[in-house]
């Protein structure tokens, strides 16, 4: 009776004092935010002082009377229930206890505010519940009490996050209203609402219909107050008013989901049959229609936030800025839900799992999420298990080697990509794809032929495969096992089985017949059903197709196939499900590789036995060999061969030998001599081709860093290795040491003295080689002609002989760049030890100065080419790379070390050789090379016309094996 008496005053207060309660709510939140850095008691007293001020004296006194008795029983009841339900409930309870110790008066203050809010929202359902039994009231009271306790810590914990997300939420609301104003937007809005309603109800599919009745009616009645509040927000624009929105929405969601959670628990206990689930889905759809008629603002807001996901995630649509904000709002709701009670968290997981499932289907069209959700298990555990196979199927793709590339090596996938999975864009609506688009599931009704559904790959089979094969495993034949596996052309309609229509071919499982562009099948093979593996093989050489069943060849099914066919699979009755293997996994039919090898040897044999019909093929080949030998300046070989075959030379033999000498110089890195010989033997060639000259000089610069060190180090390598084997310094440091010794600074002297002390015992060995080197060094300084190389070689030999006489270790050689640094360091020491330092000093500086001087010359030449617009991007890059070598103490192991490889010299010699021949009016390339290029291009053209043989032959088949 007391409850009945209290009801009217509460409802009247809520109607007349809505603003007051909102104000008290905002003050409550402000006080809580203040509590972040202050004591709880003072803030509580503040809120207490605010709350009685706006209320009338009579209602306040009436509230005070029942409160002292009412709070204590609910606390005890909530504690008992928390312990009984699950250990998760303990997490919010400790927080509540922490707030309990304050005085009784202070603790009752927040409870009053919260209770007033809830009573305000639930006024309509309470009135209705009076007509029902009293046990119903008791059931509803308990969840409410639980919610009271749980909301308190939730609000406290997520306070900051809420403030940020509230702003996003409000922005979304504003944009939502703006979008509704234009005439164009209303139709879209209605569509979104329908989609949203469908999805929301799908999430709640386990709910009982009885529970739905009270839920729908509350949504209808609250609209007026929300509208008023929205108007207030627009007028005032204050943050306090904005902060009022989230708690209301959160509470509504919490209440609804509490009821839903209870329903879920009940349904889980009793339902196991799929048929019942189907019936519930039908009921849900009816609810969707009814809910769609209701135009509630709060419902629109919630539905809109959910509707954003598919629009935002669909690849076909461009994302909008408003979608991002709405997406954030959705996350906001999820966060709040996660922090609620255990039953709510269970419900939240269900919702989150759907979201996850939805995102995983981003590649699907927008209507897929509904169908996939309908077939998924109603339990969360089932969904988690479902996601595991998808994860495992990812592992093959992460393997280092692509198995399809090994299977079809002659396919150029940049031009004709291989089929690798089913295409979500090329399938019937009744088809569902999963597991990286390799698994196909039928989702239609399957009552008529028009209910057939097919899916194909994104790309047709490239004819350069020569022989193409894929397999399909029947996971389940479903109701009738009406399945077709085959090939279809570009214009195939996806609501047919492969083979029924023109330019489509299929082998069907229910009757074992083959269908070739016709609805009338031909007897072909056995039927296939659950567990069978059906393979389809296309031969592009003879345009035929055969099938396999569980690894057994069934024979040719189709002949005279057209090109550009897509692997296709068709299903027709519920429950049908198949898996595809396009080569990612080993095939059941293990003879494909052997068949390919046989076809390859057949093609090679056919070419080998092809009649050439040439009268004198020997003459042609002799001419090809002769011109090749002459072109590449193999002069002695050419002399012998032409003598045998009575062939003549077009080019002067002396000229051939000169070219041979130049090529040999380049291949051994002696660029300066090669350039000199070219300038002398072929005057005007380089002057008229400055780009070629520039390229040769770039290579010379690289060889100076590479070869110059070898030449200069030969003088000292043996001595330095024996006397200072562990002294390793970088070129830069060595240069600094050299400069220090020149300048005579104190630091330099100290370093040199230390080094000198370490090597006192080695002085005799050091002096001896120097004595032998001095005359040679002087000669090197004086001579600048071509004989320099000869003297250098003899000089090196002299140095190597002396250590052998005095030391049993023998001579050591080193091509390491550090040897140059060691030599410089040794020269620095010599400077200190000897009175006459000019020869060593000049020799040391000369090497570095030569490189730097040549670099300047090279740079100026490059600038000249730039002025004349002759510099190409390739040459600019070449110059930059060459100069970059200076920056490394060990250029051979630097990122640009490949520049120093001997193989780089071959392209330089080829370019120069071609230029020389062209200047002599000969062909730039030998005829044999043209023939090879010609053959390679012919093979490519055969492939481009889909003739198939190009799969089994490459230009490398022409060359003998090593």
């Amino acid at each position: 009776m007391e409850n009945v008496e209290e009801a009217p005053p509460l409802s009247s207060e809520s109607n007349s004092n809505s603003n007051n309660s909102s104000a008290s709510s905002s003050s409550h939140q402000l006080s809580q935010s203040g509590a972040m850095g202050a004591e709880i008691a003072p803030s509580t007293s503040r809120s207490h002082s605010h709350s009685p001020t706006p209320s009338p004296p009579v209602p306040a006194s009436s509230h005070d009377q029942p409160h002292p008795d009412h709070p204590s029983p609910p606390l005890n009841a909530s504690e008992t229930e928390a312990r009984e339900n699950s250990p998760h409930d303990h997490s919010p309870t400790p927080t509540f206890h922490q707030t309990a110790p304050p005085p009784t008066t202070s603790s009752t203050a927040p409870q009053r505010d919260e209770r007033e809010q809830q009573q305000q929202q639930e006024a309509p359902p309470l009135q209705q519940d009076q007509q029902e039994n009293s046990p119903a009231q008791d059931q509803e009271l308990h969840p409410l009490l639980d919610q009271q306790n749980q909301e308190y810590p939730a609000v406290h914990q997520d306070q900051q996050a809420e403030q940020n997300q509230e702003l996003h939420h409000i922005e979304g609301l504003i944009r939502h209203r703006e979008s509704q104003n234009p005439e164009e937007h209303p139709p879209q809005a209605s569509l979104e609402n329908r989609e949203t309603l469908g999805r929301e109800d799908t999430n709640q599919e386990p709910d009982e219909p009885q529970v739905r009745d009270p839920e729908i009616e509350p949504e209808a009645e609250p609209p007026p107050p929300l509208l008023l509040e929205d108007l207030d927000e627009q007028d005032s624009g204050s943050q306090d008013l904005n902060e009022q929105q989230p708690p209301l929405i959160i509470d509504a969601n919490a209440i609804a989901e509490t009821i839903d959670a209870n329903a879920v628990e009940r349904i889980d206990d009793y339902e196991d049959d799929d048929e019942e689930v189907d019936e519930e889905e039908e009921v849900v759809e009816d609810r969707v229609d009814r809910a769609g008629e209701v135009a509630s603002v709060s419902g629109a807001q919630r539905l809109h936030s959910v509707a954003v996901l598919p629009r935002y995630s669909s690849a076909s649509r461009a994302p909008r800025s408003s979608n991002n904000n709405n997406n954030n709002i959705s996350n906001h709701n999820n966060n709040n839900n996660n922090s609620n009670s255990n039953s709510l968290s269970r419900r939240t997981r269900h919702f989150y799992s759907n979201n996850g499932s939805h995102f995983s289907n981003d590649m699907f069209p927008s209507h897929n999420p509904r169908s996939s959700t309908q077939t998924s298990s109603p339990r969360v555990g089932g969904r988690r298990h479902h996601s595991t196979p998808a994860a495992s199927s990812n592992s093959p793709q992460h393997q280092g080697v692509d198995p399809l590339r090994l299977l079809y090596p002659n396919v150029n996938e940049s031009e004709t990509p291989l089929p690798r999975c089913w295409s979500p864009h090329d399938k019937c609506l009744s088809i569902g794809l999963s597991q990286n688009n390799l698994r196909v599931t039928y989702k239609g009704v399957g009552k008529q032929h028009s209910d057939a559904a097919s899916v194909r790959t994104a790309y047709p089979i490239p004819s350069s495969c020569g022989l193409y094969y894929f397999e399909v495993r029947i996971i389940s034949k479903g109701r009738n096992g009406y399945m077709g596996i085959g090939l279809t052309a570009q214009q195939f309609r996806m609501n047919r089985l492969p083979g029924w229509d023109k330019q489509s071919y299929g082998y069907h499982g229910d009757d074992g017949n083959s269908f070739s562009s016709s609805g009338n099948g031909q007897t072909y093979g056995p039927t296939f059903t659950t567990g069978d593996v059906i393979g389809c093989c296309v031969n592009f050489v003879n345009n035929t197709c055969f099938y396999t069943k569980n690894g057994v060849d069934l024979g040719i099914a189709f002949r005279d196939l057209p090109t550009k066919l897509y692997p296709t699979v068709g299903l027709q009755t519920p429950g049908e499900e198949v898996d595809a293997n396009f080569g990612q996994e080993p095939f059941k039919f293990d003879k494909i590789v052997d068949m390919m090898k046989e076809m390859r040897s057949n093609v090679l044999r056919k070419i080998d036995r092809y009649p050439h019909l040439l009268e004198t093929p020997e003459n042609l080949m002799n001419r090809l060999v002769s011109t090749y030998l002459v072109h590449n300046a193999f002069s002695k070989t050419a002399e012998a061969f032409n003598g045998y075959t009575n062939q003549t030379f077009n080019e002067d033999l002396a000229s051939i030998k000169t070219r041979q000498k130049i090529i040999k110089l380049i291949l051994t890195g002696k660029m300066s001599q090669a350039i000199e010989h070219t300038l002398r033997s072929f005057p005007g060639l380089l002057e008229n081709n400055k780009n070629l000259w520039f390229a040769l000089k770039c290579r010379q610069f690289i060889e100076m860093i590479n070869g110059a060190d070898i030449e200069n180090v030969n003088n000292k390598v043996t001595a330095t290795t024996q006397t200072m084997p562990t002294n390793q310094t970088s070129v830069i440091q060595s240069t600094k040491t050299f400069k220090h010794s020149k300048s005579g600074s104190g630091n330099g002297n100290v370093n040199i003295n230390q080094t000198q002390q370490q090597n006192n015992t080695a002085i005799p060995a050091v002096i001896k080689p120097q004595g032998g080197d001095r005359p040679d060094i002087k000669n090197m300084l004086v001579d600048d002609n071509s004989n320099k190389c000869v003297e250098h070689d003899s000089n090196s030999m002299d140095v190597e002989m002396e250590p052998c006489q005095s030391h049993s270790n023998g001579g050591d050689s080193s091509s390491n760049g550090n040897a140059s640094a060691v030599r410089n360091s040794l020269d620095a020491i010599d400077e200190e030890m000897d009175v006459d330092v000019s020869p060593s000093s000049r020799n040391c500086g000369r090497v570095i100065e030569k490189i730097l001087e040549f670099g300047k010359e090279l740079s100026s030449m490059g600038q000249q080419l730039e002025k004349e617009n002759l510099m190409t991007e390739e040459e600019r890059q070449m110059l930059e790379d060459a100069f970059s070598l200076i920056a490394y103490s060990n250029p051979w192991s630097s990122p640009l070390g490949w520049l120093l490889c001997p193989s780089r010299r071959e392209s330089v010699s080829t370019t120069l050789n071609s230029a020389i021949l062209e200047s002599l009016n000969f062909e730039r390339r030998p005829p044999l090379e043209y023939l090879v290029a010609h053959a390679s291009e012919l093979i490519k053209v055969i492939g481009q016309h889909s003739l198939g043989e190009d799969a089994f032959i490459t230009i490398d088949d022409v060359f003998p094996q090593n």
């Binding site: 080998d608 050439h612 080949m621 071959e906 023939l931 090879v932």
Partner: protein
């Protein structure tokens, strides 16, 4: 569906193709060794740093026999071959027949008609036991006897140097096959790989021509002047 249209001209595509010189060197070395050019092969090993590959060991003997055939010393060549490969003519009747035919032709060239007639009718020549498919060749060869100047007769091409070259090639291939049989290695084509390259071009061009495609350049490998044909084909540069 539109026909394939190459983006660049055929000569340009030829020029942009990059050959590895090591591959071409192996192709040339294979030819020198297979055809028995021993001295050239040895020099090429030095100048190009190429490995000789198989059949280098027998190159000297094969070269001498081929040289003998090329200069018309057919009996000497047959005796030499019999000593080196005792079972050669037992397993390859076709080559034996052509060598005997060449002996007869050399007698006719030397105007020793009576000797030629005796040789042709003798049992040792083996013409009486010739495979029926070779009767036409025997008749053409015997027809040379009926003319005062046989090199200008309708069957005169049998007396050209090119026919000696052809028989020398057949002999070389037979010797290589005989060597293969002895070593019992897997069978590989007795022709040089360069011939495979030529046949590949002819086969591919014929295939495209038969299918009616014209978006490629057809190279006439039967042209009398090969280098002129090449210059004409690639004069785009």
């Amino acid at each position: 569906m539109a026909e394939y249209r190459p983006s660049t001209s055929w000569p340009h595509r030829m020029m942009s193709f990059q050959c590895r010189q090591a591959d071409l060197n192996r192709l040339v070395m294979n030819y020198l060794v297979t055809e028995g050019y021993q001295e050239a092969a040895k020099r090429f090993m030095t100048e190009a740093s190429v490995k000789p590959g198989p059949h280098m060991d027998t190159i000297g003997d094969r070269l001498r026999i081929q040289d003998a055939v090329r200069v018309g010393q057919v009996k000497y060549a047959m005796d030499l071959a019999t000593r080196i490969y005792p079972r050669l003519f037992e397993t390859d009747n076709y080559v034996f027949f052509h060598m005997q035919q060449l002996r007869l032709i050399e007698m006719i060239r030397d105007q020793k008609m009576e000797k030629a007639l005796k040789f042709a009718q003798s049992k040792a020549a083996g013409f009486s036991k010739v495979d029926p498919s070779h009767y036409h060749e025997v008749e053409r060869t015997m027809g040379l006897l009926a003319f005062d100047r046989p090199e200008y007769s309708p069957y005169g091409e049998l007396m050209y140097y090119s026919y000696r070259q052809k028989v020398a090639g057949e002999m070389n291939a037979a010797m290589l096959r005989c060597h293969e049989d002895e070593s019992k290695s897997k069978e590989e084509p007795m022709e040089p790989r360069m011939m495979f390259l030529i046949k590949l071009i002819l086969w591919a061009q014929a295939k495209l021509d038969r299918e009616g495609f014209t978006d490629y350049h057809k190279l006439d490998l039967g042209h009398a002047d090969f280098e002129e044909e090449f210059r004409r084909s690639f004069q785009g540069f």
